[in-house]
Symmetry: C2
């Protein structure tokens, strides 16, 4: 088992490098998974992040009603999956049926297997923000990472298989893979 | 001259891959430049982004008072500069004095030479957001990029010198460089 818990005060490091994400949600027996590039750290302590969620998405009401969502960092081998999850379930109703998922105790949303990291967030309700800017604030309540790429509070992409590097989406099917590490002494 | 204007409806692509940034601001004869990893696209049209700006920063009052800031994407050769700009001017008062900067017509803030892209933003005032979450919303009013890496609305890192790749900050002096491109057909 390479999936290990990440302390909440280190969770921002999972998203700090700006990788693209998959969002999972579940409410009342209905689940969905969507691609989202507009996820960003907001605070260290408590560990919070922002997520932009268009009103047209199938996932948004699931998040509004359940008050929870998961942020996941897919790897470069999942780029096609990310694009597929970028199509709305409104038009591709079976899009999540063949995706390998797992569940963590106490949380109802399906989590995508083989990602580099998973963060479960509780929505901090901010009606004006959500309505005016499609912006949701999530407080991270649990996080895990694949210990081959993230352990002891740090990413270790350069020591891990290339396939496990995360993705940075631009648009129109164009991604960049997370590249080589640079460690600069302050 | 490799610096070329970017249409505002393509400006989100400059920041979509989640690179770390330098923020510039100017008010009443005082300028500053700071590092910021927590910048994220918010909307395509109008082109907007979010910026997290701690109350302790020297730069924040410059932005609040002038209503403008610039977001810049440094390249991997500027990693040391980014770390240096991550130290508050409150403790390193001369930190920007030796940085090569330039100015664009109509805008007062100093822009850092040799970045991959520059976006000038007007603050959309949201007092509650700024106070409660340190979150600022900027509307992009002008953008430029180095045409060796961004042209025709797309990044072209794989065809450009390695030195021009952008940076993704984690913490504690650790960065990842933007890696190889992947183009997936939808």
């Amino acid at each position: 088992m390479t999936r290990q818990s990440v302390p909440l005060d280190k969770a921002f490091r999972l998203i700090n490098h700006g990788a693209s994400t998959l969002i999972s949600a579940h409410h009342n027996g209905v689940a969905n998974i969507m691609a989202a590039a507009w996820v960003c750290a907001l605070d260290f302590n408590p560990s919070r992040l922002t997520l932009v969620l268009d009103k047209s998405t199938f996932t948004r009401p699931l998040i509004e009603q359940s008050g929870y969502f998961a942020v996941q960092l897919p790897t470069q081998t999942q780029a096609e999956l990310v694009l597929k999850m970028g199509e709305s379930r409104k038009y591709t109703p079976n899009k999540i049926d063949t995706i390998p998922v797992f569940y963590q105790e106490n949380y109802a949303m399906p989590l995508v297997e083989d990602c580099a990291a998973w963060l479960i967030c509780r929505v901090i309700p901010e009606a004006y923000l959500q309505e005016q800017y499609d912006l949701f604030i999530g407080e991270v309540v649990a996080a895990w990472a694949d210990s081959r790429v993230f352990r002891d509070g740090h990413w270790h992409f350069d020591d891990a298989p290339e396939a496990l590097r995360t993705l940075h989406y631009v648009s129109g099917g164009q991604f960049y893979v997370t590249g080589k590490g640079l460690n600069i002494q302050k």
